[in-house]
């Protein structure tokens, strides 16, 4: 028998068993343990032949199934009556566990749907009113927040960080023209007279943005607003703002 699915597609031995039962088109109540055991073991062997790693819990389940199978084949007459009353038949126990596990597997689509639904709604960061209204330090410290509140707050920040980071870079950097970048560079250079070319970029910088910036730098150099310096090939490239007096005449040079 060829199996289209691989062992790593299962969440565990119970999941694999449910799959085999479904393939056999029978209900959990009607399963024949010796048959399903054989199928289970065949599947494991098949996976071993494919050199796939089999987690030990699958092997443990194989041993357990074999144990049930052998127990069923033993005559029951000699077993103490009290034991029968108190100990659940292992076959029944297996079926019960499968049914219980299946309950949770069957509810997964609901959670997926809810997850998708919530993803359709975006909420904003709470407005920070701390500068508007003063709050007494003592008042804030009245009651302890738990360390879980702290973790939850951290996760919220990180979710937002991931959510908002691309917006800023995308909108800003996609739409910027060389002229706009020249204006930006001028204002950067006014506050910082001397800078390294690479300082104009960060981790999120796109190729287009670098090209636009490079063109803008060349333009500024052509207009003698900046001076470009490089000591040697592959060294850092420095940009220097050329100060002008009020009449627009350059100092030096």
């Amino acid at each position: 028998m060829e199996y289209k699915v691989k062992i790593d597609e299962f969440e565990g031995p119970l999941d694999l068993l449910l799959y085999l039962i479904k393939e056999a088109k029978i209900s959990i109540d009607k399963i024949n343990v010796s048959e399903i055991t054989q199928q289970y073991i065949n599947f494991i062997h098949e996976m071993e032949n494919l050199n796939l790693e089999i987690a030990s819990e699958y092997l443990v389940m194989a041993a357990y199934l074999t144990f049930i199978k052998s127990k069923m084949m033993l005559p029951k007459a000699n077993i103490d009556n009290e034991d029968i009353d108190f100990e659940e038949n292992p076959e029944e126990k297996l079926k019960r566990r499968l049914k219980l596990y299946k309950l949770f597997k069957d509810i997964i689509p609901y959670f997926e749907e809810q997850e998708r639904t919530r993803g359709n709604f975006i909420t904003k960061i709470p407005t920070d009113l701390s500068s508007e209204f003063k709050l007494e330090t003592k008042e804030i410290l009245e009651k302890n927040a738990s360390v879980y509140d702290l973790l939850s707050a951290f996760n919220k920040v990180m979710r937002r960080y991931i959510l908002h980071k691309p917006l800023k870079t995308k909108i800003r950097q996609q739409s910027i023209s060389i002229d706009e970048r020249i204006i930006e560079l001028k204002s950067i250079l006014k506050t910082k007279n001397h800078l390294i070319f690479t300082e104009l970029f960060n981790d999120e910088t796109t190729k287009e943005f670098i090209i636009v910036t490079f063109m803008a730098v060349l333009e500024l150099s052509k207009e003698k607003i900046i001076k470009i310096n490089q000591d040697q090939l592959f060294d850092d490239i420095y940009l220097d703002y050329i100060e002008k007096n009020e009449a627009g005449v350059e100092y030096n040079e």
Binding site: E11, E57, L100, I108, F111, T123, K156, H164, P166
Partner: protein, 192 residues
């Protein structure tokens, strides 16, 4: 303060609160009205948003009302935002969450017993995502940690409370079984 002013003030409050949202009880205390009336007020505001010219709406997750964008435009917003909810939780993770969601308070051993597989790593991930939390310890040998879901869990699955979870497809045998377990476990719990 008349109703029009109350609606306007509520809109401002919900805007400020953002993803923190406001509990019905909090709204009630602002306006010094009953909780029922607070829910009513939100309902009225929500109705006003139910207009094609409006782009915002109100949802209730984790027992908090939150102002959000309407879902009609989500694809447009997605062009600009990497939506965190695009990275869906894996099946195994959802399984553990479902088990904790329905069977809390629950220990790791009980989760693993239901799933028939090691769940340690998934539980650690869910703790780190603050979707579940430690809520106490069992008063049995080894004092195992017991877990429950968080407000972030409710928000993540768009639920206002745990009662909103649909009933598991019922199977009488299993329900009885679980109830027994629950009672014997409750007796053992030592929650602080």
């Amino acid at each position: 303060m008349n109703r029009t002013q109350m609606l306007a003030a509520l809109e401002g409050l919900l805007y400020i609160a953002g993803d923190d949202g406001l509990k019905p009880e909090e709204i009630a205390s602002f306006f010094e009205i009953a909780v029922d009336e607070a829910n009513d007020l939100v309902e009225s505001l929500s109705d006003m948003y139910d207009n094609s010219i409006r782009g915002i709406t109100i949802i209730n997750t984790a027992n908090s009302y939150k102002m959000t964008t309407k879902k009609e435009f989500i694809e447009m917003y997605r062009k600009l935002y990497v939506d965190i909810n695009k990275s869906k939780l894996t099946n195994a993770t959802l399984e553990v969450l479902a088990v904790v969601g329905y069977k809390q308070p629950i220990t790791r051993a009980e989760i693993e017993d239901i799933r028939g597989t090691n769940s340690d790593n998934i539980i650690r991930r869910l703790l780190a995502m603050s979707l579940i939390k430690e809520i106490g310890r069992l008063d049995t040998p080894g004092r195992p940690i017991i877990y429950g879901t968080t407000n972030d869990f409710l928000d993540y699955f768009n639920l206002s409370s745990l009662e909103e979870l649909p009933e598991l497809l019922d199977n009488i045998d299993i329900d009885e079984e679980m109830e027994q377990d629950l009672f014997s476990n409750l007796a053992k719990f030592d929650i602080k």
